[in-house]
Symmetry: C2
Subunit: 690 residues, 2 copies
Amino acid sequence: MALRPSTVVIENVSPFHDRGLHPVKRVVGQTLTVEADIFKDGHDLIAACLKWRRLGSPEWHSVPMSAIPNGNDRWAASCVLFENAVFELTIEAWKDAFHTWQHEIEAKVNAGISDMQLELLEGSLLCEQAAQNARAGGMNQDSDLLLSFANSIRSASSKNILETLQQPALSALLEHHADRVESSEFFISSSSIRALVETPPLSTAVPLYPRVIVDRKAALFSAWYEFFPRSAQGDGSRGSTLRECLDRVDDAKRMGFDVIYFPPIHPIGVTARKGKNNSVSCAHGEPGVPYAIGNRHQACPNGGGHCDVAPELGSLEDFDWLVEQIQQRGMEVALDFAINCSPDHPYVHLHPDWFYQRPDGSIKYAENPPKKYQDVFPLNFHNPDWRSLWEELTAVVLFWARRKVRIFRVDNPHTKPVAFWEFLISKVQQQFPDTIFLSEAFTKPKMMLALAKVGFTQSYTYFTWRNTKHEITDYFTQLTQAPQKDFFRPNLWPNTPDILPFFLQFGGQAAFVIRFILAATLSPTYGIYSGFELCENQALPNKEEYLDSEKYQFKARDWSAPGNIKPLITKLNALRNRHSSLQSFDNLAFHHTDNDSILFYSKHSPDELDPLLIIISLDYQHPQEGFIEVPMHLLNLHPSASFTVLDLLSNEQFLWHGSKNYVSLTPHGRQAHILQITRKQVTETDYLDF
Amino acid sequence: MALRPSTVVIENVSPFHDRGLHPVKRVVGQTLTVEADIFKDGHDLIAACLKWRRLGSPEWHSVPMSAIPNGNDRWAASCVLFENAVFELTIEAWKDAFHTWQHEIEAKVNAGISDMQLELLEGSLLCEQAAQNARAGGMNQDSDLLLSFANSIRSASSKNILETLQQPALSALLEHHADRVESSEFFISSSSIRALVETPPLSTAVPLYPRVIVDRKAALFSAWYEFFPRSAQGDGSRGSTLRECLDRVDDAKRMGFDVIYFPPIHPIGVTARKGKNNSVSCAHGEPGVPYAIGNRHQACPNGGGHCDVAPELGSLEDFDWLVEQIQQRGMEVALDFAINCSPDHPYVHLHPDWFYQRPDGSIKYAENPPKKYQDVFPLNFHNPDWRSLWEELTAVVLFWARRKVRIFRVDNPHTKPVAFWEFLISKVQQQFPDTIFLSEAFTKPKMMLALAKVGFTQSYTYFTWRNTKHEITDYFTQLTQAPQKDFFRPNLWPNTPDILPFFLQFGGQAAFVIRFILAATLSPTYGIYSGFELCENQALPNKEEYLDSEKYQFKARDWSAPGNIKPLITKLNALRNRHSSLQSFDNLAFHHTDNDSILFYSKHSPDELDPLLIIISLDYQHPQEGFIEVPMHLLNLHPSASFTVLDLLSNEQFLWHGSKNYVSLTPHGRQAHILQITRKQVTETDYLDF
């Protein structure tokens, strides 16, 4: 068929931005609704469909799109993607010759025009063409039916023509088999014509299909527990081994966590090794920082770098055993992927050209003047041999993926090129589509979003420092809005080994309770760094860093120390598993309260009748009380209705009246309500049971 | 140089949308400000520049971009384009190695670090590399200077190093000659990496440079006067010829118009010719509708189609004479480009395959059941021979462009494919970049915008039906906002030969005054269809169409009939020429009044000290009075200052106090104020003159 320019314009396709440059994300089973402006010249009717296929598959799936009523040329269609894979999409739109013809006939019949011999002949020719297409596709039965429709149209009278052409079967068959001349593919639309006008050949107008990364459900919904394997037993005089981690794993399991996340487990460098509290001098026997990775002087099967386990923790076999144990308990392992090389890393020896070399031949260590990080050599991602470096780092991730690790928490991705992450993540997910990458980018907002755009499954957030009602409302409103809600998935951490926020330092147990409830309910994915459950809050003076951090030393701990909040954690993780409204992110809505220390939000899942209502005091010091405004319309309640609510934290019940209701919260005992609507008294018919 | 992936991310480039798919528009001498999010991994400093070149030119012009203070990685640069041509742009950004190094040295000096031998060596190597680049580019003087800088840096001490490296000449030379490794071109940024990962070769990631169409000033600022040449003398018994049009042209000139726009001047079909008031029967001698184009039975040099003048109007030579006369008067001609073919058009004879053929071999005429337009055959823009049709229609426009017509008002472009217009306009503007296309698309909003996106210079608007304060404020706020303000230029018409709005029908002279002032001040480009100045308002019953329209007949008229508003038109066109604030579009701001029948807006040009204030009553029936709120901050006035204003329409002066001031308008006499701030009394110093 000769090339013809398209006539239908397809524009502003959501949720895709920048003409589909970056993929959006969904999890298996989630609905994807695609909208577009679709229109053409003249008065012809249009048909359009949304098409999708797994990347690499030749076959398209398809669903018709519909014009949104009064939508001003906006069309929509939804699909549900059930496979953990990357999909590509396109929209096809064309002049709907049959319905255009049908519309013309109807108008003429209504106008009392009776001589329509030619028009009927045109309609029957459309049917005959479709019959021919059906036969070519091997659909002989459809073809025969279309031919009989062609005959009855040709011989119809102005009296019975409407009856004939309005038969649903005719419409369905023509939708299926009609010519789609003038079809127009996604994102080309009229601008493909530029190719006809100018020098570059048409082939440069290759359509760029937008993509959807469909992750497994854990990408959206999971609770992470981070601990240092060497601290598993809380012995301050020596480190634990991988084989000694099961108690900690079981404790996390009891608390309801899904993911066990280990900071780096690799050999630790000895050159310029840091001592306690980040001291530049290190006493004999101090364990070093797990982030100063690589020690080619230790005996390891893979040279002592990123594909080895530190001998003091155990062997690769011990690691495999631990992974197996964790998986048997229904949990999974997340590993830290920290591209830090100690001076003893085998790369320094084998690939000095991968690093920054100085005029005297030495390798440049990390610096932030006046601070020197002589225990870490940064890699030069744009060295002339960049491609082998990028391939090697990808191979590291694949190495652990083959050992059944499918979650990687990536350390400081914002200090490596964005392009590198696009390279690595797409290569890993090609082999292991179930791999999840968490970006630990505590950096400027646009870089955080860019990392998510090029493939990071999840990201750390500013939640760690958002404490007031205003801050939380602002930030989470932004996170749940387009475009970022479609590609940026927050993973909320109230603390990390690097960050002990002032709020936790100053507020004692009440602060830990508040931050935990916020993390576990504002987002379906969150994590805590171990010690949080014990309300550990000893900091370096005037810093948001831990005193005697286990990053630098063995740490003595009582994992069941008094004052811990393990019961609350256990209860809330159980609630998260029971309520689908706590398992997605962009179903968050904030509501009014008359007290700025009381935050009120709801989460609503299409699978549940009513939203959960979450009311929390942000004050760890004083009791707070006030009136909240229940969103009666979301509860499908009359503004003055009475209804009962059940507090899922305390099991108390309350009888509430209308939208305005009083709450009273205290730093100790009742920091929050998580309310389920249990009984509605909307109308008289509710009393008919009595 | 080996291919390396980029490290700088460049995103969200404004004013370009959809990744630069469609050009934005400016006129010669207008400023174009380009903004982008620019950032990279790590802590390196970035440098970026905006580059542009005329389409087809190999040479780029360039200006440095700067980070907007507190702009969150937003960068900006401006350029002024002085040629009537299409330009393409790109942004280049790279790691700024010199300033990154300089920053490091400063931090170390400030931290009291004194041993910096290696660092200084690194700096001097940067200078030497730049010196080498300068020499390669033939800039020997720069090269020598850089070498001497290299020496002084190498031998600097920690005491004098800051002095050395902060020399402006050093910075300037390095900005000019330093390596731009890791440079990243517009719109590729990190995503080019996809090409390294997947099957399509890197070449498909060819950068798509966004474009700017730089039009001549008339594209933005002009006043149009439309008349039918056959009505030039207002004789109801016969039509005037082209040679008889000069009186009308001179009258338009006196009123201050710049563009004389003629409806189609081509031979008119005889088959199914329409009579008076669109009657299907036509008496002998009736002149026909100029939009039923083509009569191959008349003797014409080019076959009687779109490249001929109707013999009853004159010859091509007469046309050339008239164009010359008009241009001598400092005005120019706009021609109608109406792709309507009468059954007598030569195309029907020569290219029946360009039309819609019916099963009986006949050609389909236009229909909108029950209405039949048997005098017009629509063209099939997707017929198998579409390319010759598109080329032929392009040739028609080029034919008239060569006869010095450089403005085309395009009839009903929304009933032809958008792709066709992109094809035609770009081809014509390649030869005649000064060609202006006005889209007469009274259709759905997205189609109107699409036509502007693919190249139409200007567009008709919904202004014709926007009468209330709310309607006007809403619509013009939308038109002056991004993104459409950058590609959609309104041309406001209070009436057209097809539309006599109810407002004008009902409101008499006062309505014409109101609509005229609005059109001539809300937009720098507007037009009237002749008869407007005479306040002609006889309509077909219950329709917004003219009674006895000259589209179908000869029209008797007194061009100086009493009650005409020619003095107002003359005055306002003169004001438009004098005040640059009335010569651009997106400088419009609406202000508060306490009366919904009084509209208040201002127009401010950077070339003028103060904005013009325009206050207009929208009521043609009753006097209206009320308080308006002067935007004192825009006038740089204290909120309670007194100041004098001069009404440019009436020459009255008013002494006003503070922001709230009283106005009183009447349907006859004082429908509006156009106020210039003449004297400010801001502070005591203003009285020092006395």
